[in-house]
């Protein structure tokens, strides 16, 4: 049902529906890692261990995607020899891991975060810059 609210109320409630951004951690260079520091806004909502576990797993998955191993070298050399046309038919290793990450995030959201009213967005949607915990607890019907 539509209800009108005063602007004060709306501002207060909208302020609670905030996004918490988890920034990148560059201490190991330019590889994609996220800070495991537990944001203070989530203290009441979720267990610290759980959160750190999620971020650590994500970091490991991204490290796997960017790993300089024999597989990536073979892929790179093959691509070079075929003048990079091989990527038109084959998916890169990175893309495969990104799919794994998307599945993992979906799983985490379903099991852990959604029941607590949180949503973890896939960093790839934000340019691998931030992982967003979106608190969608309160929304307001206006006009």
């Amino acid at each position: 049902m539509a209800e009108t609210h005063s602007l004060q109320d709306m501002r207060q409630q909208a302020a609670i529906a905030a996004k918490v951004f988890i920034q990148r951690d560059y201490t190991n260079g330019t590889i994609c890692q996220f800070q495991t520091k537990f944001p203070s806004e989530l203290e009441t909502r979720i267990d610290k261990q759980q959160f750190e576990e999620t971020v650590r797993t994500l970091n490991n998955l991204y490290a796997e995607a960017e790993k300089l191993g024999s597989q990536s070298y073979i892929e790179g050399c093959l691509a070079c020899l075929t003048a990079y046309t091989v990527f038109l038919c084959m998916e890169t290793h990175y893309e495969k891991v990104l799919k794994k990450i998307a599945k993992y995030i979906q799983e985490q959201n379903d099991k852990i975060y959604a029941p607590r009213g949180l949503l973890l967005t896939d960093p790839i949607e934000r340019g691998l810059r931030v992982a967003v915990e979106f608190d969608r607890q309160i929304t307001v019907q206006s006009f």
């Binding site: 602007l7 709306m10 260079g29 330019t30 070298y73 990175y94």
Partner: protein, 465 residues
């Protein structure tokens, strides 16, 4: 500059006109879902429904392609018959393979997203601002421009990008020609008509290496051709007269070979030390350290590992998702558009004073302003930048021709080398000159308004029961 945010009376006519147009546009939107490349804020051009990305100024790419095709064409038409007859059939075969490789590498370099970083969403920009403005002062201060972090136990400064509204990751630089932040930015190459960055550096490197081989090969073959002709009892002049095309090829190749070989050598050095042209020219790591180690925190201190990491490393995906569809209530490009297009609606410091009505009008204006080709290249806000960028390329001609991307040709004018360093130093002045960017710098009040806007837009409204 942000002091002139004043509360202005909302024009009731705008409100009455807009609902019908908003409805029409919503219907239009429902009929044709738009892809993200159509509202991309950078100065890029897209073809094939977003599959191909190119910088706006790709003027010299046809010249590059033309020179390569013409030279090879002349080679195959005029030199190869003679050489096949007198030497071996492998000459055109090798030439053909090299030619194909060069063209494919060139096209891949030009048409690949170099590693463009998407701009910060309004929420993210507001969050960053909140973090650095925790003193809670009411007077607006521009966000600090640098943040220091430790990378491999070395202090690195991250700069804040005013256009993209975020702290740039390390090794990222903002290209003013393309108006994008590019990861691992090397330089903007006019010859390929695109920036060279993380994702297309390997293509660029294979392009210049294969082009070096191709030009040396053609050069050698043409010399052989003329020598063989003049050996058969004729003079040199007569030999040249019989095959005038060879002279054209000779001249082109002679001048290309030196610059291309020089460029290849330079980039091989960069690859081996895991540096970018940008860092090398700016002297980010070398001049400050007197110690034996290069001081480059990204180097693996092993030439082979550096080469493999740069050239054969995993291929990161494009972060800008050109072909994705815009969600129906996408407020991200709209919010930035509304900041630039609607200066009269800039709110006062007390956000609640005009949140409701501003939000309504902004949402409606957003729908109406989004459609008349707002963000494809050519938006007026970016054209002064383009002019400025070309004018600052002048003073950097002291860099040697092998650096950057210049190529000396016999009869063509010397193209100014790509000046990534001067671009970054001029960036701040460019931004202050352009009034659109002053408005685009978020004010605390406006950004909070936008925060609420995107909250409501993203989440939708559900009634409180």
């Amino acid at each position: 500059m942000m002091k002139n945010c004043e509360y202005q009376q909302i024009d009731p006519r705008a409100l009455s006109v807009s609902p019908s147009s908003a409805q029409n546009h919503t219907e239009t939107k429902a009929q044709r879902p738009r892809r993200k490349w159509e509202v991309f804020p950078g100065k890029n051009r897209f073809f094939c429904d977003g599959r191909i990305i190119l910088a706006r100024q790709s003027g010299v790419l046809p010249l590059t392609l033309g020179l390569i095709v013409v030279t090879c064409g002349l080679f195959f038409a005029f030199d190869c018959p003679f050489l096949v007859e007198h030497l071996t059939v492998f000459i055109p075969v090798i030439g053909g393979v090299l030619f194909v490789f060069v063209v494919i590498s060139l096209l891949r370099t030009s048409f690949t997203d170099p590693g463009i970083l998407p701009r910060a969403t309004p929420d993210e920009a507001a969050d960053i601002e909140k973090q650095i403005d925790t003193s809670g002062s009411s007077t607006y201060r521009p966000p600090p421009r640098t943040k220091e972090i430790l990378i491999n136990q070395q202090v690195v400064k991250l700069k804040y990008c005013f256009t993209c509204k975020m702290f740039r990751p390390p090794r990222t630089s903002h290209c003013s020609l393309c108006d994008n932040c590019v990861e691992r930015f090397d330089h903007h190459c006019p010859w390929v008509g695109n920036c060279v960055g993380k994702r297309n550096y390997r293509f660029f490197y294979s392009f210049i290496i294969s082009l070096s081989f191709l030009t040396s090969f053609i050069f050698g073959c043409v010399i052989t051709h003329i020598t063989l002709r003049s050996q058969a009892g004729k003079s040199l002049v007569q030999a040249i007269q019989e095959s005038p095309a060879s002279v054209v090829e000779l001249v082109i190749c002679f001048f290309s070979v030196w610059s291309i070989l020089g460029l290849s050598g330079f980039h091989t050095y960069l690859v081996a030390s895991n540096l970018t042209t940008n860092e090398d020219i700016k002297g980010s790591w070398s001049s400050k350290r007197g110690a034996e180690e290069s001081g480059n925190p990204y180097s693996y201190n092993n030439i082979i590992t550096n080469c493999c990491a740069t050239l054969c490393g995993p291929m990161p995906p494009s972060l800008i998702d050109r072909r994705g569809f815009l969600p129906p209530d996408e407020a991200i490009p709209a919010a930035s558009a509304s900041e630039i297009e609607l200066p009269p609606f800039a709110a006062k410091n007390d956000a609640h004073m005009c949140t409701q009505s501003t939000k309504d009008v902004l949402e409606r204006m957003v729908h109406s302003s989004e459609f008349p080709g707002l963000c494809p290249p050519g938006t007026p806000k970016t054209s002064p930048l383009g002019l400025e960028a070309t004018s600052v390329s002048g003073p950097s001609t002291e860099t040697s021709p092998s650096t950057g991307c210049s190529r000396q040709l016999a009869h063509g004018p010397v193209v100014t080398p790509c000046p990534p360093f001067s671009r970054s130093s001029k960036r701040d002045s460019l931004h202050s000159i352009n009034p659109a960017f002053r408005l685009a710098s978020p004010s605390p009040s406006l950004s909070r308004t936008n925060l609420f806007l995107s909250e409501s837009a993203d989440v939708g409204f559900i009634p409180l029961t």
